[in-house]
């Protein structure tokens, strides 16, 4: 018996990240003190170590940021598109140059593995800025009339699961179209947005075009409700999204919402099994399942259920859980104690409702917020874990017999963000895709993103599209 091939620790150095003890608010081109907002700690979810303190922005701070953005809008929107593009290209290049630093920072603050921030988040962030930089001088050719105008000041509220990527999805199209922005990052992951503020300075972006106001739900609510905001863009939970929709109802504000999901990953009996297993893993365990478009419901054809589940379980037992900064880590930490509690409660409920729970034998670190990859089999449409978004590394496995049944079950959810279809038969793939009510449908892959592709939801998953030509529409007066 050969000795075991144990991978030695291969931690990415955190020396590349220079964190200040505390951060103010980035308003009108500089970091400023808050008017009365207190300091809040942000911790590393993997160790609970305090990384830095940031400012809880007040309504007064939000007002100051919106006024700065309004002032900057006049000149920014009057710039020729090619000039705005130069700034965006410059930002994209700086992001590429600083990508290692930003990847480590994101891993520290969010808890996701460095492999993901390095290979997925950061390349996509840069690609998003490059892509929309290209649109800035071609807005007249985007299909929204010869000279579409920007909306004004955009108030943007983003989640903690992809802090910098969601920032890119919001800021890049807004600036390309000629808007100015006030962005509020999530409560648990403010740091990469504050580093982005520094990148804006480094790129020489005019003052007030991008403003970052950190804070909690109250800060976000103040931004959304501010009377001088022309456009609200939100990515986050469906509950908060509904609240925001109520707030802006009856105003002239334009609104886009990207909310929750309960994506169905449909595996037919003629699927390429080994790749389908990879897709299932990528669909639900990428970013610890904290992905709005996660493939959290596996719909597998009953005739191959055992074969697929056996292969999936074997694959899951090779996943490496631990220090997110280790380059060989596949599964990192859950973002916060609050989220961990929610995942734990829903998983326990799944068990209580009679679904069969399975996890690979798994040693969790003693400090930090951790949840083992979990698979529930014997799940039906009636189970809570088949209906509610868990937003964690928990897969619910259901079976179906025919394509019609697969479509019916996949669509039987209040959400409609993503779906996946695994089959080697092209005609079946196209026929099923046409009947799924989901904004993004992947075939023989899952969780693949590209700035050229629009992304958004049906039903309670929200409305409006981000990415691609469609993503411009949300920031133009059309």
């Amino acid at each position: 018996m050969a000795p075991v091939f144990e991978y030695a620790p291969a931690p990415e150095s955190r020396a590349v990240v220079d964190l200040a003890p505390s951060y103010g608010l980035f308003i009108d081109g500089e970091f400023t003190e808050s008017a009365g907002g207190d300091l809040v700690k942000t911790v590393s979810p993997a160790t609970e170590e305090v990384l830095a303190e940031y400012t809880r922005g007040t309504a007064e701070d939000v007002d100051r940021a919106v006024r700065a953005a309004r002032k900057a809008f006049e000149t920014w929107s009057a710039l020729p598109g090619a000039e705005r593009a130069k700034y965006l290209f410059r930002i994209a290049r700086v992001i590429q140059e600083r990508s290692r630093e930003l990847a480590v920072l994101e891993t520290l603050d969010n808890g996701k593995p460095i492999r993901e921030t390095r290979d997925a988040d950061l390349p996509l962030v840069a690609a998003h800025f490059f892509y929309y930089a290209g649109w800035a001088d071609k807005l007249g050719h985007a299909g929204f009339g010869p000279d579409p105008r920007p909306l004004g000041v955009a108030g943007q509220v983003i989640p903690w699961n992809f802090p910098l990527l969601m920032l890119a999805w919001k800021i890049a199209p807004a600036l390309a179209a000629g808007n100015t922005v006030v962005l509020k990052p999530a409560e648990t992951t403010p740091l990469s947005a504050l580093f982005f503020a520094d990148i804006c300075r480094q790129a020489g972006l005019p003052r007030g075009v991008v403003n970052i106001v950190t804070g909690d739900g109250a800060t976000g609510a103040a931004l959304v409700a501010h009377p001088d905001v022309d456009k609200v863009a939100f990515t986050g939970s469906t509950a908060v999204g509904k609240e925001i929709a109520r707030t802006v109802a009856g105003t002239a504000k334009k609104l886009t919402l990207e909310l929750g999901g309960k994506g169905a990953n449909i595996v037919f009996d003629d699927a390429p099994v080994d790749q389908a297993v990879e897709g299932i893993v990528n669909g639900i365990f990428f970013n610890q399942g904290q992905v709005c478009c996660a493939g959290s419901r596996l719909l597998v054809q009953e005739s191959v259920h055992d074969e697929v589940l056996d292969a999936l379980k074997r694959r899951l037992s090779t996943l490496r859980l631990g220090d997110p900064l280790d380059k060989n880590t596949d599964i990192g930490a859950i973002n916060s104690a609050e989220q961990l509690a929610r995942i734990t409660a829903l998983a326990d409920q799944g068990e209580a409702e009679g679904a069969e729970r399975w996890s690979p034998s798994c040693e969790l670190p003693s400090s930090g917020y951790w949840f083992a990859p979990t698979v529930f089999t014997g799940v039906t449409q009636a189970h809570t874990i088949a209906r509610d978004e868990i937003f964690g590394p928990v897969l619910s496995v259901l079976t179906f017999r025919t394509p019609d049944e697969a479509v019916a079950k996949a669509n039987n959810t209040p959400y409609g963000l993503s779906a996946g279809i695994w089959t080697e038969k092209g005609s079946r793939m196209l026929a099923v895709a046409g009947r799924l009510r989901a904004g993004v449908i992947w075939s023989n892959t899952f969780n693949k993103f590209d700035p050229t592709s629009p992304f958004g939801g049906y039903k309670e998953s929200g409305f409006g599209r981000e990415g691609g030509r469609h993503g411009l529409e949300a920031y133009l007066d059309v």
């Binding site: 291969a10 993997a46 099994v273 790749q275 090779t318 996943l319 040693e363």
Partner: protein, 359 residues
Amino acid sequence: MPDAGPAPARGLTRPVPLRGLYSRYARRYARLVTMPTTAPAPGSTASAPGLADVTASDSTLRLFLHGLPGVDAVGLEARAAALGTRSIKTTAKAYALDLAISMVDLTTLEGADTPGKVRALGAKAVRPDPADRATPSTAAVCVYPDMVPAAKEAVAGSGVKVASVATAFPAGRASLAVKLADVREAVAAGADEVDMVIDRGAFLAGRYLKVYEEITAVKEACGTDARLKVIFETGELSTYDNIRRASWLGMLAGADFIKTSTGKVAVNATPANTLLMLEAVRDFRAATGVQVGVKPAGGIRTAKDAVKFLVLVNETAGADWLDNHWFRFGASSLLNDLLMQRQKLATGRYSGPDYVTVD
């Protein structure tokens, strides 16, 4: 800042055979496959007993091979690339380099091969790094049949095996009688291992049973002493579906090893085609209990690449294959890079090509 970070990343468990996994393929091919009630002992090289019905006729064999799950090329290559990002450092690297050295089939397959050249190769295989006696020997030397006697002499008493290509290598375009004579000559000269090529023409024409029968005939000619490696020439089979079918075909016919390529065509071993073959041997053992080795050959030139292949083995087939009885590299220039990396790890400095022997 507390120094005690979270526990280092580690595999959740060693891959263990799961209950039910064993019969994964049995379920899929319930009508074709009769399962053995107990798995043969590991190391058994008997051809798959439970799958005998599959090869009863051309049509059952075709039905079986075309019933194997398809391969999604994009997904397969993405998985191979993702495993290529594993970071193998310090102790893990030292282990991997030594393991890789011990898995090399040090190869010379040139028209210009001479007994002198083969002797030099044999000496190198036995003692790859004369400056460091702790360096493991390679697994084998791999030569043409007429060079087997010279190779045998060069590695005598060392435990290094002699592998001989045969069956009208590399094209395989000869009659079965000629191929078998080629094999018998190599075995008679003392070859411990025979590397045969399949008839790609027959495979691509859909004559699977002809390919099968040729392999079984060669296996028989190898007798009980020589292990048989079956080369598919994956670059000529071209599609991943074909590579998966060829893998199962070779294993059904009694291959001890399945091997990617001859090294004589444009596309040889790649991470993706090796990953696919590792999945095949893993699934074959789950279905039949018989373990088959894998040998990527051609195009693996750097230690870094070799370590990536070992990661593929570790995370696909599992630790049982991390041994030169079950995994080989068909290579020549790879060895010197492995040795230089080994010296670097030991001394902290890179030496130059003059500090490893030219063979």
